[in-house]
Symmetry: C2
Subunit: 338 residues, 2 copies
């Protein structure tokens, strides 16, 4: 049985969609117990609308809510009874294996580091976001945790990301690429130029060199390593261009009578294709390198994404990702010492 | 009469598409003279296949070609008779008003600075790329010229970009946004945090604050300012996600008989819509802040993009963009002196 704490109060669609997602997860899987953390009356009231295996959902009271606009360090320090702080403490104390939240990224990042704590040797825990590609899915990290990173951080991202893609997603020898503005080794900014040889020298990853942003949607690498500013720009632009184009395609099909009839005919097939390009099916972005598992979903996550994020925690736990990260970093340390 | 030097040897589709584009430009406009720079026999041979107003195209011989892979500084120094160096010299000596090339970005950048030269006061000439949005077009700069820029460079990009959008594209009081990973002023990396107040204090631009990458395709700002690494990632991802989605939509419509019939019906309307999202219709990216006009098109530019880039030079020249940039930077200098 995997215990997943879920932030019932976090995100644009909380608590409704969050609770719906939790109910869906426990209805699908007998091996998950969800701890719904939030305002007790609100959560219990919402739960009444569903039928689900009662032994698989427990409500954990938390009277406060951290808003997205709040400065995260202050919020984590002051709002001791917020859903995020209470849930993080459950993970820290071993009462939960994982935590899923659609709430403030900043607070999740700070809480993850301060309350749950980093694994020994991890310098900066990155957000690893799964992004859809033409051929499957890639892991983009750091997708927004720490800006202005150093080369050693990027090397750790590559190691942790490789472990994640191999054992959670099931891609053997995942190809690692560093985001760059040209294919040649001598291209790039100062950070990339300094990181490139370090990745090349890293023995436990399958480094395939630079990846230009154009190649990302084509599935040019399985693990895409970059600094968090660049990563966040990539993640958000990916979603922005995708949604803009899809809405333009929809509008474009509605301009003439002829095209409207055509739209009715292509709709089912098109829907199936575009589903492949929908980030929410892959669940949220784990904050890698913590002593427990913390997963951030999109702020506007609907029930489906919450459900998928909860289920994703099972594989993470079963595959002992954190143990594997620890081993990898220990081996790295020994390498340096020798 | 505007004289535009065109690199007949640059790009993946040279000389065929380049020469075709030049012929199209002079066939459409009586006020343009094209100087086709490249291997004389090759260019003359290719030209024989077209009928066009003979007085509007002149062949300027250049025996060498700079390849994309060549280190740019060396190439510009050594290949004195390359199409890029010969054409840049035409601009420098006033024999041409502008230069259009689909060749090596690096060589165009180095040649632009070393041969054509920067306008007095310009610290770093950025590539300004026009990108399509839901509502029209935005200027992204720096889209790839100089990585690791300083705040003062970004402020100059904002000033030059505003002048370009106002006078070449015709948007009055263009909104200037700085690419950021959150909407609030305190978000961002060190560069953005330092640049933000400087842009806010800049009196001759209409600064509207941070723009998240998600908002770029929705037309969230007219002038999008960022450092060249980020800018190049945005530009290439834009194209990558766009082309991937369009190819997925096309494939998606071909899976069932029903959808195939629908595809035939929606095709014309859809084509019209997606044309709006095609970057090549806007022509190439000017290298702003030089003593002459230098425009870089996509490496894989077809005739249409070459034609549009040549025609774009007329507006640039007529609107005296360089004179306006000089005035703006002079005013800035006086501001600082006071």
């Amino acid at each position: 049985m995997i215990k997943v704490a879920v932030d019932a109060m976090g995100g644009d669609n909380a608590p409704g969609e969050v609770i719906k997602g939790a109910v869906e997860a426990v209805s699908d899987r007998r091996d998950i117990q969800v701890l719904l953390v939030g305002k007790e009356d609100v959560v219990s009231q919402e739960l009444k609308g569903y039928s689900y295996p009662k032994d698989q959902i427990q409500v954990i009271p938390a009277s406060e809510v951290i808003e997205t606009e709040e400065p995260p360090v202050n919020a984590i320090r002051r709002k001791k009874d917020s859903s995020i702080v209470v849930a993080m403490n459950l993970v820290k104390n071993g009462e939960a294996d994982a935590f899923v939240s659609a709430g403030s990224s900043g607070a999740i990042l700070v809480g993850g580091q301060v309350i749950v704590g980093r694994l020994k040797g991890v310098e900066r825990p990155p957000f690893g976001a799964l992004i859809p590609t033409e051929t499957g899915v890639s892991l983009l990290l750091d997708s927004g945790a720490n800006v202005d990173a150093r080369p050693s951080h990027l090397v750790q991202f590559a190691r942790m990301g490789s472990i994640y893609m191999e054992h959670v997603i099931g891609i053997s020898r995942p190809r690692v690429g560093i985001v760059n503005i040209g294919a040649e080794e001598e291209k790039g900014n100062a950070l990339v130029k300094e990181t490139f040889p370090k990745l090349k020298a890293c023995r436990d990853i399958h480094f395939t060199g630079s990846i230009e942003a154009r190649e990302i949607p084509h599935g040019g690498a399985d693990v895409i390593v970059c600094e968090a500013f660049t990563g966040n720009v990539i993640l958000k632009l990916y979603e922005g261009v995708g949604s803009t184009l899809i809405s333009m395609v929809k509008k474009g099909m509605m301009v003439t009578l002829r095209s409207k009839i055509g739209a009715l005919l292509v709709k089912p097939a098109l829907k199936e294709t575009l589903k492949k390009f929908d980030a929410s099916q892959y669940g949220g972005a784990p904050l890698l390198g913590l002593k427990g598992l913390v997963v951030k979903t999109h702020g506007n996550a609907k029930a489906g994404e919450i459900r998928n994020s909860i289920i994703q925690c099972v594989t993470f736990k079963e595959q002992q990702i954190n143990e594997k990260i620890k081993e990898s970093l220990d081996a790295e340390e020994q390498d340096i010492e020798q």
